[in-house]
Each structure stands twice: as C-alpha cells, then as structure tokens.
Symmetry: C2
Subunit: 658 residues, 2 copies
C-alpha cells in the first residue's frame, strides 16, 4: 500500500510542465474549497501576497509548530523567546537590512506600475529560448548565461540588458525606468512624533541576537546553547508570484545556536551520523551533476559539510521534514555556491523541497560565524561576547600597537583616523614586520585600505612592543549556526506531497485525498452515525466525550434530519450534503478524505463501531468503550494501523465506501 | 495551606499605594531577573511599550494559549483562522478604525514632544486634589467631576481646560498645542508603488468578519457558530505607561460568535448557570456601590446580562481565568456604562482583574449586534448574511416603494439621490402614512435627514403599494458576540496574583515564589542530583528521558563539577551557583521556586528519589521508574498532591530546604 501510494503521488506530481500545472491547480482548488487557506481580504478583492489560514489550515499550522517546538525547543532544551515585529531602525541598520535588503525594481514610465527587474529579464530570456526558433546558437548561449548569473547582476548591468533587448512593460509595452533598489521592509513610524522610523521585522533572528547577553547569562554563562523564536516576518515584495510560496507576511521559526568558534563539534552528532539522504554539494552543482545520496557522517567527515554542529542540524531538519510527511525523494540539501553565500558565512545549506514550482528553499541552515553578534556589538557599544575561564592563568605574549596620534595628525590631517584604525587593526605578523622596518629603516610603507593607498609611517608615529601578560580567561565572539524555517513554504510543499486522487467506487469521478500523517492532520478522526436515530446519536456523543478526554480532535458528521440537540451541542458539525435523504456513507468518507482525516468512526450499532483508515480504506470493528483509546494509540504513534488490523476483527471492506 | 497561601498573597499585594508600589517592584524585579520578560532592544536603550518574552515567559505564554485553544476552540468546536497583520486601508475604513481609532494629543510647542491630552489633565487634577491644601470645596468638586467625565471630553473641551488651568509640558514647562486626534494605528504602505496605504491591524476581529461568508459555508450554512483567532495586534501609543499593561504590540485571542439576533439562547448555558462570582452591573456603579457576588443564571434571568449567549461566555471566561490561577476575589465582571458602550452594542462586560495598578480590563465580552458584518457588507458590496429556510413558504405582505426618478430629478436636481434614498428607507408605518396623504391631498411633507429639511413629495414622484409575496427563507445579518482577550495583560496579572515571598530557613532573606498551577508553570519539574557522582548522573539521565517521553518539560540543575557529558547532552542546564563547593539544595530549591516550578525531583540514591512540592515544601519518596508518571499525574491534574501524599511515604521534610 505504502508503495502504491508513493507511486500514485508521484504520477500525480512529477511529469511535464503542463501536468505539473494541472496537478497544482487541483491541489490549490481543493485547498481553497476546503478553506485550508483563503486569499486575505477576499471580499475587497484581496491583496497580492497575503493569505489567511482557514480552519483546517490553521490546525495543520498549529500541529507543525507544536511538533517543531517538541522536536527542536524541548528535545534540545533551547531558550525560546518572543520579540515584537515592530523594530526600530537602528537594529536593522546594524544588521544591514536598511542598506541591503533590497530588490531591483523598474517602473513603467507612463503608468508607474512596478516590476522586479530580474523577473522581466528572466521572462524575456526564457521566452526567447522557448519560442524563438530563429535564435542563433551564439545568442542562445548568451541568454542561457544571463539566466545563470541573473542573481549576481548589478543595477547597471540589468539596466543595460533591458535596454539592449528592448524589454518594455509587460502590460502596456511602455518604456521602463532604469532599475533601482527598493527596500523590501514594510516601513512605519514608532510613536507619534514621526521622528522614530521603524520596520516590520524581515526575520526573527535579530530579536535573538540583541538578547544574546541576557540569554548567555540565563544559560549560566556557558556555551553552546541555542535560542529559538517562532513568529511573523514581513517582506514587502514588489510583485508577488508563486501563490503561497512568495508572500508578504509569513511565519518563521528560527534557531540561533551559539558555539565556540574553536570547537564546533556536537555531542549528539552520532545520533544523526548514519542518516542517508540527498545532498547537493557545491562541487556537484558546479560540475553539472545532480544531487546524490550521502551518509551524513561521511559528508561531515570528508569536510563537505563544514562542521559537526552544522551537520547535526542538517540531520535534525531531515528528520523534522520527513516526520511531517515530506517525501524524502523530493527533499535535498543544497550547499550554497561561493557567490551565493554572504562573505562572512562559513558554510550554508538549504533544505530544498521539490514541488510543482520546482525545487523550493524551505529551510536555510547557515554557519554565519560571528557576523551578527559583532555587528550589534559595534553599533550598540554593548559587548556581545563569551568568556572561557582558564583552569590556570595562561602567560601569553601580545603585540601592543600604540599609535602616536599627535604625530599622525600632523602628517595625515583629515585622514588621521583611518590611519590610526588601520594601524590598530594589524595582525601580529604585519605588526612585527613593520616593527622590523621601523627599527632598520626608520620608516615603513603601509597600505591603508580605507584610503585605498600606501602611506609612509615613521618611527615617531607608532610604537610596537611585545609584552607578556597573564590571562585568566579567553574572551571571544561566539559563532552562530542558524537553521531558519519558512513554515508556510513547508506546509505548502507538504500539501503537494500529500495530495493524490483515486477513482470513486462508481468510477465516475476522481476523489481527492490528503494522506497527512496523524501528527499533521487537522482533525484526527470523524464520527459518523450510519443512519439517523436517537440511539446512534447517544453513542456518537459518548464517543465524542471520550475523544475530547483523550485530547483527540474530531468532527461529527451528521445527516440533515438529525435532531437539533446534536447540532447545538456541537455547533461545528459538518453537514454540507443532501438535505433530503441524508448523505451516503461513501460521500461522507470522501469529504473526510479530502480534509486528510486519517480515521473515520462509523456508528452502526449500539455496542461496537467500525474504524476506517483513510488510505487503505480498511476497516476494523471495535467496542464502543475502546474506540477512543484505539484512535489515540494510532494517532500518537504508539501503535500502527497494522497492529490494529492484527488485534481487531476486520470489517467487510468491500462495502466500506458505499 | 491553600488558605495560608492566599493570605500571604493578599498581604503581599493589597495594602496602601506605597506597599502596592513596593510589591509591584519586587514582582517586576523577579520577572526581569529571571527573564520572564525583557525590555525589547535593550542594548539599544529599548523602545517604550515593546517587550520580549524571555524563556520562562515564553513558556507561560505558550501554556496560556494552549489552554485557551483547548478551553474555547476545541471544547466549543470553533473555527480557528489565522490572518495577516498587514491590513489594507479599505478594511479599516469599513470598520471605522481609520476615522475613529484615535487619542487626543498635545505637543510641546517648542520641542515637539507629544503627550496624551487626557493624561496631562488627569495628572493635573489628581495632583491638585492630593497636594493643594488651600483648594476650595467647590474647586475640588470641579476637579473630581473632570476626572469622572475625562473619557467623554471632546478635543475642544480638553483644550479649554488645559488653557484654563495653565497646564504646560511636564518636562520643559513650555506651552502646549491645542489637542488634536492622533491615529493609533501603525501605518505602512503595501507594495512598492506607495499608492496602497495599509496598517498593522489594531485587533484580529476584522480578519474574521471579512471571512464570514466562507466560514458560514464551511459550517454548513448554519448558525450559531464561532470563529476564533490568536495573533499579534498593534497600537502606536502616544506615550506608553503602566509597563507590561500598556504596550504597542500585543497578543490578542478573539472569538466572534455569530448568532441569530432573534434567538440568543445557548444550549450549554446550564453548564455555567450555577457559577457565582463578582459582578458589577451598571446600576451598582451608577449608585456608587461596589461589585457583588451574583449567580450567573440569576443575572441572566433578571435581564442584568442581556442574553444567554453573552452570559455563557462570561461564565466560560470566569472558568478560564480562575483555572490559570487568577484569584477569584480579585476578578470582577463590570458592565459598560451607557456612555462607554458603542451605540450599536447591545451589552458589554469587561473581565477586570485587580492588580497593583488597580482594576485592569483583561477580557472584553461584547454583544456587538450586527454592526461589523453590516459595515463590511456596505463597503465591500458582498452580502454578509445568513439564511433561515422556512419549512413551508410563508405568505407575507410587503410594502413596495417605487420612487419615480425622473420626476424627483426635475423637482430636486442635485438633491435627488438623497430624497430617493430617504424614500426607500421608510419603514412600513411611514410609507403607509405617506400613501394616505398622497391619496387624500395629492402631496405629503417629508423630512429628509441627509438634507436636514422637509421637502414636498407629490403623488407623481412615488408609488407605494402593498403586495403579497411568498417567502421561502428569512435573510438576516447575524449578531456577533465577541469575547476578546488581552493575553499579555492576563499574564501580567497572573504574575502578580501568583507571587509571594517567604523567609529563607536561616531567616536572613525573603525568598520569592511564583505559585503557578502546573497548567501555567513554564517548567513542570526540576531534576537535582543531590551530590555529584557518576551514578546519580545516570539516574538523572534516566529520569530526564522518561520525562521527555511523558511530555513533561523539565530542567536539570547540576553543580559545577559535574562531568561535562551531562552539560553537553542537556546544553540548557542551569548552573548559576557556586563553582567551588556546589550549591546547597536549599538554594537550588529557592531558584526553582522563583521560576514557579511546581515539583522538584532530588536524586539522592540509585533506587528512589524525593519529589518536593513547591508551596508546601513537602516531600515524598518515589521509585525511580515511577517518578515520571507521578509527576505527569499531578501536573495533568489526574491526581492531586494530597493523593500522592497518601500513596507514597513522605520524606522527612524538616531537612527539605537545607
């Protein structure tokens, strides 16, 4: 069954562009019809890039977040924090977002409509390559090259290409402005004065970094430790595409694991070292190969993954995603290419999930070195550092560089500050070389990068000595390893991976099924009285009570004529079927399959009921008093459905879906 | 014990203004020191009105929200939704927030510093009344009257009083501007064009209202049903005061219960009708009395509470708050006075909790009638209505008013539209009167309120007839009953109600305790190895594993010399004590009491351990293999601590806290 199911899912999702599009449409139609999500503010014609989670979507999201908390925060004893979305400008200046969190935009020069410059160039190249049959081999190669380097193009280069190819506004064919950077943060103003600019945070991470000092103290001034945060983040996209994947407001779940840069080993790495899954290291990408299955322990051992802690999180992310129901064959860990990675990053891997839109980055796992803590230390003047106390004081020899500011001021005037900073920033080797030169020649040539030129330093301008010091501790800025989860993207991919169709019994229509694992399913079981009568209603109530006590979410599906008490007591019962003769049990099963409900309890007697499993459609017969605990066992994962088939009599499955 | 505890809490919290202030300071100091919360962006000197939840605060919040979901969403089968914070202007124009969600502000005319006008006037009056000994009785009465009507003063009245009393800017004594309205929403811009204004939502309710149509369909087109949403809301306060109670970003949990306005009974009302608690109806407030204990069923029966559904939610809110640990004697339900309530509201009660700041509104429970759905129907043009199908079609006689636009246009030109609308809006009685006049005199005087005057209508301008129609259904706008929870305020009050101090064993210091119920406690138990050795460490690990499996959050507290493996495996262990000789068990208990951890497991042998209850400090001895399930039972509420004292041998408690 498991294999058949996988095959079905694949055949549903994995073919040509056209069939992928059709598959996506049927997933999205089902999701919208059953209110997994709703375009936000729909009655006002909506806002691009904003979506609501409706009741089942909300339940799926809550389940995913609860599991995330269990899998990461609780099992790893992380320190969870919860910071505001509104963030003052200074914090996002320090992090670099005010300056660099931009996309390049062009405007229709007549209507003012805005477009992402790279999207227009990309669409143009793709279109040409697909449709222009007269394209020369040389031209085709050029266009392909542009597609490959698109992310690296500067505003000038993009603008030049747009001009060269005569690209115009897609809707009006009007000329376009030159590309210019548009900051993707939603801007606002804090307080009434209008003098305190603020932004809606583009990520939750900064809230953790600015709290490092307190969290380090809370953790007993010890490394390593991890902090975590779940919350909304915002991105004012220029023109959102790709439906639920590219949105303007989304839930992030982020971990910042702080670690001594000299020791990135991880004591629990052995727990994940044997995992084997698709990895796509830099070398394979550059040489045009595809992702390969690798054993995580080997990837870390060979240095393909930079360090154990990064590897540990890759393994934990793999376990997290596959537990949710992400297909392991459509999940890969792709290493960032050198030009993709920030200059300070030590290594970076994305968990990419394949869906109808292609391979989508859903989790980023980056070793960001000491960059963030250093940036906030510099801007705030508060040292975000860790201490390692030595068991015994260590005697160390240290180079001490003392610039003589008066002399430097006379010599360099306005540039004095840059020269002083450059001198102080010399490492030991440079300083000792200069010292030798000053001693032998009385002066030394010195390159000041902030001035972009060499200057001459004389021995009056600086003293360089070596001094012995006793040190009692080492003070350092921790490295941070950051797994960052786009919860909405994971959930969307999960929908695609869980969706399949199968013919109805009569064969006249295709029925939709979401094969969510119980962990994720929005409702764990449905209760159906087979026919309407007072006795069955009483039984349904008893079962409902037992399910509530067991903490199992359920829904009662009744037919229209059932007396109103049940309707009242359970106001959210589902009754969308025929009002006249009641809905056939088969239709009711189909409705519940479409919500991904794993188990259905049908009340067909006053002593026992049947329990139907969604994907196999098999049924077992269970006593009324046992049924809640049976459902609890299989949804909690203590028992499997196979165990239950063994333990309880099966119910004639031929008639199950009638 | 329970009584002693209550007495202690009260004596801690309930005295003079000075002792209330001192009590609050010790609560806040403890909360900040143990990172229940952290002023946001502290290293950048913070932002007024923004706070982070640190690790224990975050856990408390997660527990409160999980219980809210259990108590309301699951038990009542509500439809939960999750909508974005970014909201386009049109939605908040419809709801009235763009126009009316304002506070009156004055500016220091020289420095531009902003103040809330009512705060300045309030401070002035209070100060005078407290400190000016020469105040005449007449003047004192005037100031008291101002304090009483402060919320109702217009900008002009406020400005006049500020001028009259010569109130200046508090910091500089500079003159102040006239008061003017400042909109409290954080404004932003959606998309890159700058042409789509948006706001950060001031409440979550609007996201539910705009989805009414889909949710009604999802519920099988049946009333009543409730939708719920938990999420961030924003309020750009002019000058936030009152610490954690008045913040610029906060978590709301809101329910919108949609109901037929002709039937606001509730089938489960009997479940709460016998509850008795402090209620403070309008009449008691107006006549200067205080809140009184009432039986909810009687309050609804006598019409003090408008209807059963409103009463049902008042009862459920009472159960929710007291289950969290809110002291029932410092909780009251206060009815809004007529002038406090929106004109459309049918009735409104606030759950107010008394803390060191006075009585604080923490939950608002309002019958908002059909206002919100009507407002969005009008603005969006989408009918947000419900249908009641009749079993048999009903024959009804209806007045049909048909304005003759051509004639009206000739007579009223530019005012035609207003006249037409006024004609169409006539009720049956008015229309029949006009019909009579038109028939007898050929014309009728008619007041058009949008024109503010009478016009003369002739019998050419309108036809009025009575027609018989068969109606198959009734179409109506549902009423909405809205319980709205300020989660942060509830949590802050809970901190105050749970805090008490008791002397250390040596009597030389006061130790802080948060007596959270297990439901709320950030961590359910701590595991202490009594002394450091390999065997106890193994036992602690075994217990930790069992606790994880049972889903109990715990913390291991070790002394400094414990071997590093444990530290590594459980990176978040707490070790803030002495590095040399280890921390005494008494100090470790005190640390855990201050976090409100209800149970502490001390490993003092390899076969059994002690379990200590926080408030009584009593201990029992339990076998190692049983301890996780014992803790689970008492934290889940299946058993009480008294049950456990009965079942297990008590451990000599004299030495417990040594």
């Amino acid at each position: 069954i498991e294999e058949q199911l996988q095959a079905m899912i694949k055949s549903n999702g994995n073919d040509t562009a056209a069939s992928r599009e059709a598959f996506r449409q049927s997933v999205i139609n089902t999701l919208e019809r059953r209110l997994f999500y709703i375009p936000s503010f729909k009655i006002y014609r909506g806002v691009a890039g904003l979506y609501d989670y409706g009741p089942p979507g909300c339940a799926v999201k809550a389940n995913v977040l609860a599991f995330w908390r269990q899998h990461f925060v609780l099992e790893e004893n992380m320190l969870e924090v919860d910071c505001p979305c509104v963030t003052p400008e200074i914090v996002l200046k320090a992090s670099g977002h005010v300056e660099k969190f931009t996309d390049l935009m062009v405007k229709d020069e007549k209507t003012g409509t805005c477009y992402r410059a790279d999207h227009l160039l990309k669409d143009f190249c793709k279109d040409k390559l697909e449709k222009d049959l007269s394209l020369s081999a040389e031209k085709a190669a050029e266009l392909k090259h542009i597609l490959a380097v698109l992310d690296d193009l500067s505003a000038e280069e993009l603008g030049a290409k747009i001009k060269e190819y005569g690209i115009t506004a897609p809707d009006t064919k009007n000329p376009l402005s030159d590309p210019y950077p548009f900051n993707l943060m939603f801007q606002t103003s804090i307080g009434p004065s209008g003098l305190s600019p603020g932004y809606m945070r583009p990520e939750t991470a900064q809230g953790i970094f600015v709290n490092f000092k307190d969290l380090y103290y809370y953790n007993g001034n010890k490394l390593p430790f991890a902090a975590a945060q779940i919350g909304q983040a915002f991105r004012n996209e220029i023109s959102p595409r790709q439906g639920l994947l590219r949105v303007r407001e989304f839930t992030l779940a982020e971990i910042e694991h702080f670690v001594d840069p000299q020791d990135k080993s991880h004591p629990k790495f052995t727990d994940v070292a044997q995992l084997e899954f698709l990895m796509f290291p830099r070398e394979l990408q550059v040489s045009g190969q595809s992702a390969q299955k690798m054993i995580l322990g080997e990837a870390v051992g060979k240095g393909i993954v930079n360090n154990e802690t990064l590897g540990y999180f890759i393994g934990r992310v793999y376990l997290f995603l596959t537990s949710l129901g992400i297909d392991k064959d459509r999940l890969r860990f792709r290493q960032h290419l050198a030009n993709e990675m920030a200059h300070y990053a030590a290594d970076c891997w994305d968990a990419e999930i394949e869906c109808s839109y292609g391979w989508i980055e859903c989790v980023g796992i980056a070793d960001r070195s000491a960059y963030d803590l250093r940036a906030h230390t510099e801007k705030s003047g508060v040292a975000l550092v860790a201490h390692e106390k030595f068991a015994e004081p260590k005697e160390v020899e240290k180079v001490v560089i003392t610039p003589v500011k008066k002399e430097l001021g006379l010599a360099f005037k306005g540039s004095q500050k840059m020269v002083v900073e450059a001198l102080e920033a010399m490492d030991e080797k440079e300083a000792m070389e200069m010292k030798a030169n000053l001693e032998s020649k009385g002066e030394a040539e010195f390159y000041v990068c902030t001035l972009g030129k060499n200057v001459t330093i004389t021995n009056k301008m600086v003293t360089i000595t070596k001094e012995k010091k006793k040190e009692h501790q080492r003070v350092f800025t921790p490295s941070v390893i950051e797994p960052s989860f786009g919860i909405g993207r994971i959930i969307y991919c999960l929908y695609e991976h869980s969706f399949y169709t199968r013919p109805s019994k009569a064969g006249d229509e295709q029925l939709n099924v979401f094969c969510f694992p119980p962990l994720v399913a929005p409702i764990k079981c449905t209760v159906f009285p087979l026919v309407q009568n007072q006795q069955y209603e009483e039984v349904a109530k008893r079962i409902a009570k037992a399910l509530t006590a067991a903490g199992i979410s359920y829904k009662i599906d009744i037919t229209a004529q059932l007396v109103s008490t049940l309707l009242w007591r359970y106001p959210s019962v589902e009754d969308m079927g025929g009002r006249e003769g009641g809905t056939s049990i088969g239709k009711r099963y189909a409705r519940t399959d479409e919500l991904g409900v794993p188990f259905a309890i049908t009340v067909d007697s006053t002593t026992s009921v049947t329990v139907r499993e969604r994907d196999s459609k098999q049924q077992i017969r269970v006593n009324i008093d046992e049924v809640a605990s049976v459902v609890k066992e299989v949804t909690d994962g203590q028992s499997t459905w196979a165990d239950m088939l063994w333990k309880y009599p099966t119910h004639s499955s031929a008639s199950a879906d009638d």
